[in-house]
Symmetry: C2
Subunit: 320 residues, 2 copies
């Protein structure tokens, strides 16, 4: 993994975080413990903790303090994934609800709740009410984002502004806040943590746009699901919105529903790829990335800054 | 409603809280706003806000500060109800369609998440990290309680200790913390808020036991659902555990499943009522209540103390 090489100087701290994650999800309830651990062991890039730690390097870095923020944000990310899975599972199983499947959903919902609650326990170890407020506001935005995503499904009338607002809430804010809270936990000046917030926000926007592009350009093996799955599920992303500017392509796209045949989806993927929408999306992602790098420029010179720069660039160019 | 007469001196503050509740659930997302408002308008005793306010009277009472705690705790209660309804597949709550029934499970789950997040925004307005920590710990316990309740369903091997631990997490802690955080927001000494916590805890235990008794002794009209519904759903409560001490009754009870016929449930209700289990449960509730009243005795004399005393007694004796 290319990422990890970029912050090898954080290796021991990353290990510490991994261990704290495991300790944190430990629950008296074996069921809850197993469910949480299962999720944890499934892995993940731990990109949010990495941003927290790097941002912390701009101030007084104490791993024993900052790890609470890092683990807290990873838990929130995990919790939102669990709740997402509940939603998606529910759809896949539509029409055939089994007791066993229901059981899993209940456990998943409360496991998500539990991880949220644990994340709050950790963040409140940072004795700064301001930090807690930021996290609470972030959670509100995340929830609104989730609901809007449900509402906007198969809504082909939405515009690009809807899309930006949604990915801001869904992805960018949590990365922005990872940077900001890492910095706050390290006692930096307001100006620095606000800049780091904006850096994280722009990186997050770029990251999500690339993600949405990969859904069309990736192979089934790389994606772990068929290409075009987002669209098939009703998620209208930037490449789709750009492609729909062509009236002929639009006519085809607006017909997509859950029961649309795979062959039809393949045809639409080709149309989107041939429309220039991918390139236009990548340009938008690049613009965000450049904004991110520009903000970094204003920050004090240190090793973390160099690493943030490298990570941002890799995110902007990543194929997988 | 008898409750309300006991704290008429709080009337304008209760109105303020009701209004703040409405303002708080206001969301940019119309869907989220409607779902939250629907829940809010379904009513409820607002018992947690009342405890918050009364506890606040032991210190420096400022409604503009303390209302954040009161609304926060009511929102957490509401959020947990929404998630419960998803789990229980409940169609009705307080005689009105649940969010799950009116919209769907996805909306219900995220509405719950949203209410949690809003509640955190409010509590973090109290700039005391200690208060935030208490709430975070409480949420962890609530989640464990929910999971244990799922795990313990139709588990006829559980003992009374399981039951007490479960209702502690499910009900008593949130009432205890309502009292404690109300007091903390009003800057009382540690000793006072700890006592108020214990008062709330004992009242909460008594309250839940009575609730579990009423499930057998109430009429369908009073309950809004058939008597014995808890048992039918697999919730093994104190009267059931006491009744199962009789080996013959136990044999009948352990057969109960979701698909058990109504007539069979009615028969078991009669067995439980005839076993002395109701009376024994009420005695346990009384014991908790007496402990609550004893702690109140140690607290400074004021109008709130008198009211807490009255409320505790009504809770202990309530029929509905």
């Amino acid at each position: 993994m290319k990422f990890k090489m970029m912050y090898s100087f954080l290796n021991s701290d990353i290990k510490n975080i991994e261990q704290t994650l495991e300790e944190t999800v430990h629950a008296e309830s074996p069921l809850l413990h197993q469910a949480s651990l299962h999720l944890l062991k499934a892995g993940g890039k731990r990109i949010r903790p990495v941003f927290v730690l790097l941002a912390g390097k701009f101030g007084t870095y104490d791993i024993n303090i900052i790890k609470n923020v890092a683990v807290s944000l990873e838990l929130i990310h995990m919790a939102s994934l669990v709740h997402d899975d509940v939603i998606d599972d529910a759809e896949l199983r539509r029409g055939k609800p089994t007791i066993k499947a229901k059981w899993d959903n209940r456990i998943a919902m409360y496991t998500g709740d539990y991880l949220f609650a644990r994340s709050l326990e950790l963040i409140t170890k940072i004795e700064k009410p301001f930090a807690h407020q930021i996290l609470a506001d972030t959670l509100v935005e995340l929830c609104i984002g989730e609901i809007e995503q449900i509402k906007d499904k198969y809504n082909f009338e939405q515009n690009i502004r809807n899309y930006f607002r949604r990915i801001k809430r869904k992805t960018a804010i949590l990365i922005a806040v990872s940077c900001q809270l890492g910095a706050i936990a390290a006692d930096v000046d307001d100006e620095i943590h606000q800049k780091l917030y904006r850096f994280g926000y722009y990186v997050g926007m770029s990251y999500q746009i690339i993600d949405d592009v990969l859904d069309f350009t990736g192979t089934e093996k790389e994606l772990g699901k068929p290409a075009g799955d987002d669209l098939h599920q009703g998620n209208i992303t930037l490449p789709v919105l750009f492609a729909m500017e062509d009236a002929e392509i639009r006519k085809e796209i607006v017909k997509v529903r859950e029961n649309t045949e795979r062959a039809e989806i393949e045809k639409i993927i080709s149309l989107i790829k041939g429309s220039g929408a991918i390139e236009k999306s990548l340009t938008v992602s690049d613009n965000y990335l450049n904004k991110a790098l520009k903000i970094l420029n204003d920050l004090p010179q240190n090793r973390a800054k160099k690493t943030l720069n490298d990570i941002a660039k890799v995110i902007g160019k990543r194929s997988f």
